[in-house]
């Protein structure tokens, strides 16, 4: 019988009700086309059902399965085991987030940050008339399209050097989302969003090193969005702050 090739996973384990974190090793079969998520599912299905992690679509669009793979933030459904041969592969929860259990992190802080930037179209003239669409040319669409591709996987938060120091920093994905709506020709809420963004601690510490854009699996380029927002918004924001009489009511 031919012996099966295997690879070793070293998986971060943590149960809040049962002592501190530890690493547990699992030996799983090696398949050329397996992603790290497949290996984790093998563990959960056939070796140890107590391993907890999030996943769903396994096609890189639901954004649930981000983890640290050998120290780098990655979507485990898109991280191939073959790229980490001969192993072992160390799998940990995303950094810069509190750990709930094993590979599951607390994302409620992130959800609040998304909410803060008012990520929806603001229209002063919306009278609820649904007889026709708002016009938007392909060129206008192209201005914000890239920033609308974020899947909220939070890899950029794990990669961000500022988040690590300034917890309240709204962070790359939420800022890119703010910019997505600011650049949308149908939107009229930019000023409101700028107020939120520039009052937030952290944005001035962002150094444009661009780790967030490097790690983004959807090429959203949050670093570019932040830079754009600063250039476009800062002057306007401070002008309004220093000349409150000029502020729109």
């Amino acid at each position: 019988m031919v012996s099966e090739t295997t690879i070793q996973l070293e998986v971060f384990r943590y149960r809040p009700d049962n002592g501190g974190p530890t690493f547990q090793s699992y030996e799983v079969p090696y398949h050329d086309d397996w992603v790290v998520l497949d290996a984790l599912n093998y563990v959960k299905n056939y070796i140890d059902g107590s391993l907890s992690f999030r996943w769903s679509c396994r096609m890189g669009v639901c954004g649930s399965c981000g983890m640290q793979v050998n120290g780098e933030p990655a979507l485990t459904c898109a991280a191939f085991v073959r790229d980490h041969m001969p192993g072992p592969i160390r799998v940990e929860p995303l950094v810069n987030f509190p750990v709930e259990r094993d590979l599951v992190v607390d994302i409620n802080g992130f959800m609040e940050k998304l909410d803060h930037v008012k990520p929806y179209l603001v229209r002063e003239d919306d009278d609820g008339d649904l007889s026709a669409e708002f016009m938007q040319t392909p060129t206008q669409l192209d201005r914000y399209k890239q920033f609308s591709m974020c899947i909220n996987c939070m890899l950029c938060y794990a990669a961000c050097p500022v988040i690590g120091r300034v917890d309240e920093f709204i962070g790359p994905a939420a800022l890119a989302l703010a910019q997505r709506y600011n650049l949308d020709s149908r939107d009229q809420g930019k000023q409101m969003r700028q107020d939120v963004i520039f009052q937030n601690e952290g944005i001035w510490e962002c150094t444009f090193v661009g780790e967030c854009s490097e790690v983004c699996p959807k090429h959203v380029d949050p670093a570019g969005a932040i830079q754009q927002a600063k250039l476009e918004g800062a002057f306007d924001y401070y002008k309004r702050l220093l000349t409150p009489w000029a502020r729109r009511s």
Binding site: S64, Y120, T137, K145
Partner: protein, 591 residues
Amino acid sequence: MNEIRHDVLIIGAGGAGLRAAMAVVEANPELSIGLVSKVYPMRSHTVAAEGGMAAVIKDNDAREHHIYDTISGSDWLADQDAVEMFVDEAPRELIQLEHWGCPWSREDSGHVAVRPFGGMQIERTWYAADKTGFHVLHALFQTSLQFSQITRYDEFFATSLLTADGRCQGCVALELRTGELHVMRANAVIICTGGFGRIFPFTTNGSIKTGDGLALAYRAGVALKDMEFVQYHPTGLPGTGILITEASRGEGGILLNNEGRRYLQDYDLGEPLDVRDPRHPQNRAMELGPRDRLSQAFMHEQAAGRTFDGEYGDYVQLDVRHLGEERIDSRIPFVRELASNYAGIDPVVEPIPVRPVVHYTMGGIDTDVHGAATLPGLYAAGECACVSINGANRLGSNSLTELVVFGARAGRHAAAAVAGQQLSDGSEIDRQVAAERDRIAALRARPAGGERIAVIRDDLNTAMEAGAGIFRDEASLSACCATLRELEERVARTSLDDTSPVYNTELISALEIDGMVDISRALAHAALDRTESRGSHQRTDYAARDDANYLKHSMAYRTDGDPRIEYKDVVITRWPPADRVYGSSAGKNGK
């Protein structure tokens, strides 16, 4: 035990659930809404829909065309009153999504663009490149954030419905983060939990699509309708089952067998035009035929030895090379990304290997056109529901539209229905809550060393594919029913490795598999009893459609033994049953 109260409770926060929640706000801003989901809303499987969303918006199209395409696509099993309402309300709902920020692809004029899809006379599919579901879901979710009336319960798993005085009045839900059970009370409950493709081994569906909402309703005495109809999408990547969107064919992609032949011409789907012919692709013909017929054609090619032999089973080729890199990148960029990442194929230079894959479940919780189930206070919308507009085979790009049209309908109707309703107090609810607490405690307390959940799931998947796949017969279905009876017993013997209350995802899997086996039994029995072939339900022992006996919806009711199957007439308004004609012989409106 904590008790949470809202006016309306929505279980499931994908496209249908979010739309329903906002419809309740629109109808009555005084109402409070609890939005319960086992995942964060943006993880819901709506996110994976690719190709687009149908609604009549262009001058060359008409409501009659969309209605006819939907009804003929359904093999006349759709209720025609429901289809008419659906088609009439679709444009307004899609414009609403546009006003909520959905980044639809556009024409140079600034109007939304449309593309052709399978089974359509006229191109009417709105799209946001090939990530339509992703953009629709995120637009709905982000828009919903501004409504303080909506309270989210993210990562709460609903385990059972609560009923009192003959009405549905809430549910029990398990909070993943703490392991706590919550009693959630409301005068209306809308189930929007999606389909159940995960009962099959090879599916485009994400892991969360386990049919939980169907099991909730089924166990509360509501019928599951038309469960035997399962849509195989003709173009999934072998191995992973990742979907390659029909938009790739709408843009002009072709299907080839191992002789390089566009084999669909041999299956009564019309004559192929050269890919450089400006009339290619032709609507309602060849590669733009309906999904059921294309998947069945693959099976015949496979039997004839004209498919390619691959590591993950036989396949055919989807060739989009002639579209060129620029068009591929602008119209179907996700296809290129997925094929490159998961099949190691660049579609610009190589054909994509594809095979039929379980994609969509037409059957679901029996509802009327308002989304109301027979149990007062209970509603359902989206893939978990069966109104039915999809009948025996759903028309491509109708499912996203169904989410918003019927999500909104259910929300509006529920908002009106809760006015003046009072929650019942007392022992009836308390007794159900206590029983549910005991059921889950017993599950967690089962002795170690029992059946593994994953093994039961594997066996369920194998049984469904072998017994109730694209082609079925009495022997295969009878065997499937018998295996499912055994699986039901084995499910009761599963045990958990995980003893933690916190994020016990294994406990969730145990609850899911319990429901999956239950609803699979409804499917297998409905398929066994339907001795005809219609749409996606193909019986090799009963090859013809039988309108005399089966122009009817199957209704599966749960019993202590096998499911009881009853039938309900299909609503026919203006389109009497006719032959489904595709290809060059297909005229407008079948005439």
